[in-house]
């Protein structure tokens, strides 16, 4: 399978990465090189094979449903590009 210019733009939008029109051809050829490389997998017989979900058998640990952390609002907003009154500030999302 290979991607066309429109698909490159669609995928860029899905990935939330702005891509300029000049950049599309180069990205398209790079993505197609990678997709051509992974194409080899289609020759493997995977009938009846379970997809891997965990690399090693391991029982999921459970813990008590109790609060173990918190009251660290200053730490949480310390790296925010914009914040006010302990809230993260973003552009308006609801008209």
């Amino acid at each position: 399978m290979s991607v066309d210019a429109a698909t490159v733009k669609r995928v860029a939008h899905l990935a939330r990465i702005a891509v300029s029109d000049e950049d599309v051809p180069k990205l398209q050829s790079e993505l197609n090189a990678i997709l051509a490389f992974v194409e080899q997998l289609s020759e493997v017989n995977v009938d009846g094979v379970e997809p891997m979900t965990s690399v090693l058998p391991m029982a999921m640990k459970k813990r008590q449903d109790v609060v173990t952390d918190g009251e660290i609002v200053e730490k949480i907003i310390a790296n925010a590009p914009a914040s006010q009154d302990n809230y993260f500030l973003v552009p308006k999302v609801i008209e």
């Binding site: 995928v11 899905l14 990935a15 493997v44 979900t53 993260f88």
Partner: protein, 504 residues
């Protein structure tokens, strides 16, 4: 006190205990060396004051006869490990000013055991790369030069043809090889510990998935990422791993198993061990020097009493293509968090989606963008089954290959670490991305199956550059790798960099 920096971690530890020198002297010698090596670009942040303060406290503890297993030993930390109050960037512009309010579990265990932090080490952006050339801070130069190539330092800059140290843990490998720390932390998603170790004549181990906590390590591909050390010797790597490993309730994938005394495995006899030689690793067109080195490795292990058996891992050739579906898929999901809202770079936009898109366009480098986009594509509606699901099924087959040979009584597997020695900075950037990906052809299977793997220096190529061999072990049997790695090290000798040309 420059000779202090050429000590191994174990020698420095023993010297401190015997009071031959102080932790402060040891730290100062390293701080000075780091300052003189800026041309290599191994460190992206130096923390000399922090190091000297920690060293003074170590001296106090040592004077009282106390101190942990790493007391007073200066280390470098890959910039993928969050360090509380100390800038952590993953070498990405999107995290350029990020100061973590928390400490990664692995690094906190190093400080618990008395280690000293010299600074943060360069790596490929978000650990995506095999040459350290994708870092937002620029490439790292290997302390190795091609003999005869006119490479030198002028006005603090390298002139000539510097070589890559490998990647993604290029800063870690270069710093250890150039004596800019006694050992370093690193991470490995497809070969990022073992390939740079092989390129720089150092020892790097990727432990079993789950051996080290991933908490506080910037995530790339969560089902593959694993932390491990790079050291000057097999013993040093063993000492480091004991401190880095262990169960962490904050990482549900970390294994709740006791951590053995790995150092005790160094020097343990390997007589009677069965070592598998996978025929599928004998690639068409394999560099004859690599093949010859592999044969030497076989002979060394045989001399030490190991039994050599040919084995088959039939799905080997599919590991790399499957990796380039699984890793980008997980990366596109993990990197969704960099949206300019809670931390990191923000570029304003006309609405919130425009802000996300501009932020990520400005903050991510080319390789990261490529992988995020591939990931978004293979996970998108209509393609999920053809790509992602199929790759995860192939992964099951890869793991089954290993289980079959381990069930046949094989204790470990010997392979080359890399298909070639190091190459020049910029040499592989013009080719398509797949060319670079092929560097990890021998290492990536190990991540896909969650197994431990160690790269040990084994010789020099015709150009005089280091080459490594890889040993792959059974799950959670890192001890066998240390025992076998020590045999290779004893047979091949060590390959320290003698000429500190970068000091100008």
């Amino acid at each position: 006190m420059s000779e202090l920096i050429t000590l191994t971690l174990a020698e420095a530890r023993d010297g401190l205990k015997a009071k031959k020198f102080s932790a402060r002297e040891l730290a100062q010698a390293h701080v000075d060396a780091v300052e003189k090596a800026r041309a290599l670009n191994a460190y992206v942040l130096e923390t000399p004051d922090h190091a000297l303060k920690q060293a003074s406290r170590s001296d106090e503890r040592l004077a009282r006869g106390e101190g942990g297993p790493l007391e007073g030993l200066p280390l470098g930390i890959k910039d993928l490990f969050a360090t509380e109050g100390v800038r952590t960037t993953a070498c990405s512009n999107i995290l350029r000013d990020f100061i973590p309010p928390y400490e990664s579990t692995v690094s906190s265990q190093l400080w618990r055991d008395g280690a000293v932090m010299l600074g943060k080490l360069n790596n490929d952006e978000f650990a995506m790369g095999s040459s350290n050339e994708t870092s937002a801070f620029g490439p790292v130069a290997s302390p190795w030069r091609r003999p005869g190539a006119n490479t030198y330092v002028e006005n603090g800059k390298i002139v000539g043809e510097p070589l890559v140290p490998g990647g993604s843990s290029g800063g870690s490998a270069a710093a250890v090889a150039a004596h800019l720390c006694l050992a370093a932390t690193a991470t490995d998603t497809g070969g990022s510990i073992r390939q740079p170790a092989a390129f720089t004549g150092t020892v790097g181990i990727k432990p079993t998935y789950g051996r080290c906590s991933r908490w506080g390590v910037v995530a790339f591909a969560s089902s593959l990422d694993q932390a491990g050390p790079i050291g000057k010797t097999v013993r040093d790597a063993a000492i480091m791993l004991r401190s880095m490993a262990g169960h962490d309730p904050k990482d549900t994938t970390s294994a709740d198993l006791p951590v053995p005394d790995y150092e005790a495995a160094v020097g343990r006899p390997v007589k009677g061990m069965r070592i598998g030689i996978p025929k599928e690793y004998r690639l068409d067109g394999l560099n004859p020097e690599i093949d010859a080195l592999w044969e030497k490795g076989v002979a060394w292990l045989k001399d030490a009493g190991a039994e050599i058996v040919e084995i088959s891992l039939p799905h080997t050739k599919y590991a790399l293509p499957a990796y380039y579906i699984v890793a980008p898929a997980e990366c596109s999901s993990n990197l969704a968090r960099y949206d300019g809202v809670r931390y990191g770079l923000r570029v304003p936009g006309k609405d919130i989606v425009d802000m996300y898109e501009k932020t990520r366009a400005a903050g991510f480098g080319r390789e990261v963008k490529r992988r995020v986009m591939i990931g978004a594509y293979v996970l998108s509606a209509g393609y999920y089954d053809a790509y992602y699901l199929r790759a995860q099924k192939v992964r099951t087959l890869i793991k089954r290959d290993f289980e079959t040979v381990f069930d046949q009584g094989v204790h470990a597997i010997l392979t080359p670490a890399t298909p070639s020695a190091s190459f020049g900075i910029g040499e592989k950037l013009k080719a398509d991305p797949v060319e670079m990906y092929l560097n990890d052809v021998f290492t990536v299977t190990v991540n896909m199956a969650g197994l431990p793997g160690v790269a040990v220096p084994a010789g020099l190529d015709a150009q005089g550059l280091p080459l490594g061999l890889q040993l792959i072990g059974r799950p959670f049997d890192e001890e066998t790798l240390f025992s076998l790695g020590a045999v290779i090290e004893r047979s091949a000798g060590r390959f320290p960099v003698a000429d500190r040309w970068w000091e100008g």
